[in-house]
């Protein structure tokens, strides 16, 4: 698996070779730096810890600054781990750039969805709601939450509540273009999260 951290820039359209318009999301990804390696011997699993994004020294707290210093890597804003089958090809200090991907490839994109606040059942769980007229007063109510026989509400029953600002993965998106000069990945379709949000781009789990 290959993965890189990036920032969602926004959406636009581009023309493909046939002159068709393709909706794309622009992601500014990398360059990321390998900060630490997790190995089976020391940690029980194989992974690389990757840093991304420039940061002012003031914003890095002391424990984290010490962590970067220990491995001799400049401070980065974000730290993430990518679990790998085999991390032997990576060394601490290695740079990961967008050229690990190529146009036409399928990728999964992980992001944090836009926060929607406290939302009702209709928006949050696609409930149907009640009739809008004919004397009905139950327009957007979530209806019954269970039987009287049970005398309680079962755990996991769908209810209104906080929606969004959760980890979301969009699978099987096509890479339309790679711009190695400007560190850009153009992906067909939409990507979770707001513009400027942190996203992980990785090779697709399901599609090849």
């Amino acid at each position: 698996m290959k993965a890189i951290l990036g920032k969602k820039i926004g959406m636009t359209q581009i023309y493909d070779e046939q002159g068709r318009i393709v909706p794309v999301t622009v992601i500014e990804a990398g360059p990321c730096v390998v900060v630490q390696k997790r190995t089976r011997a020391t940690d029980g699993y194989e992974a690389i810890q990757v840093g991304y994004g420039n940061v002012r020294p003031k914003l890095v707290n002391k424990p984290r600054a010490g962590h970067f210093k220990k491995f001799g890597v400049p401070n980065r804003r974000h730290l993430r781990e990518f679990r790998l089958q085999d991390a032997s090809q990576y060394e601490v200090g290695h740079e990961i750039k967008v050229d690990i991907f190529e146009a036409g490839q399928k990728v999964d994109i992980v992001g944090t969805s836009k926060g929607k606040g406290f939302q009702g059942g209709m928006k949050r769980h696609n409930f149907g709601g009640g009739p809008s007229s004919h004397g009905s007063m139950s327009h957007r109510v979530p209806a019954s939450s269970g039987s009287t026989d049970a005398a309680r509400v079962f755990p996991g029953t769908l209810k209104p509540g906080h929606m969004g600002h959760a980890r979301v993965t969009t699978q099987g998106l096509t890479v339309v273009r790679i711009d190695a000069e400007r560190n850009l990945i153009l992906v067909k379709g939409s990507v979770p999260g707001p513009n400027q949000g942190l996203v992980t781009v990785r090779t697709s789990v399901k599609k090849r």
Binding site: I9, T12, Q13, Y15, G19, I21, R182, L184, L186
Partner: protein, 121 residues
């Protein structure tokens, strides 16, 4: 540095003639037919110009075989080879949707006699 704008700007065509609503325009479109590419002309009255930047478009209306046909084309599409202005029209509004309800002589657009060139003060 706006990355979205710079990506869009790369795809914008340079040479497009100046035309607007009321003008009769001939659009040359690239058509792929049986593996071969050829040019196909579509001529009609421009009834609207829309959007801006990369998404700029225009709508051409013509009567084909007694049936009104409208095509909306993207100005910066690579499939649009070139655009010719056939005739300038004198109109008083930006959207000529009133042509849709008209047939025959009433559906004409008056020709512009005076074309203001070099109006820069």
């Amino acid at each position: 540095m706006d990355l979205i704008q710079s990506i869009e700007r790369e795809q914008i065509k340079r040479e497009i003639p100046d035309f607007g609503p009321g003008d009769t325009v001939k659009a040359w479109l690239k058509v792929i037919e049986g593996g071969k590419e050829r040019l196909q002309a579509y001529e009609g009255v421009c009834i609207k110009r829309g959007n801006a930047g990369l998404k700029e478009c225009f709508t051409l209306r013509k009567i084909s075989g007694g049936v009104g046909v409208e095509r909306t084309l993207l100005v910066h599409s690579p499939r649009l080879e070139r655009v010719e202005v056939i005739r300038r029209g004198e109109v008083r509004r930006a959207r000529l949707f009133y042509l849709r309800g008209r047939v025959g002589k009433k559906a004409r657009v008056k020709e512009k006699r005076y074309i203001p060139t070099a109006t820069k003060a």
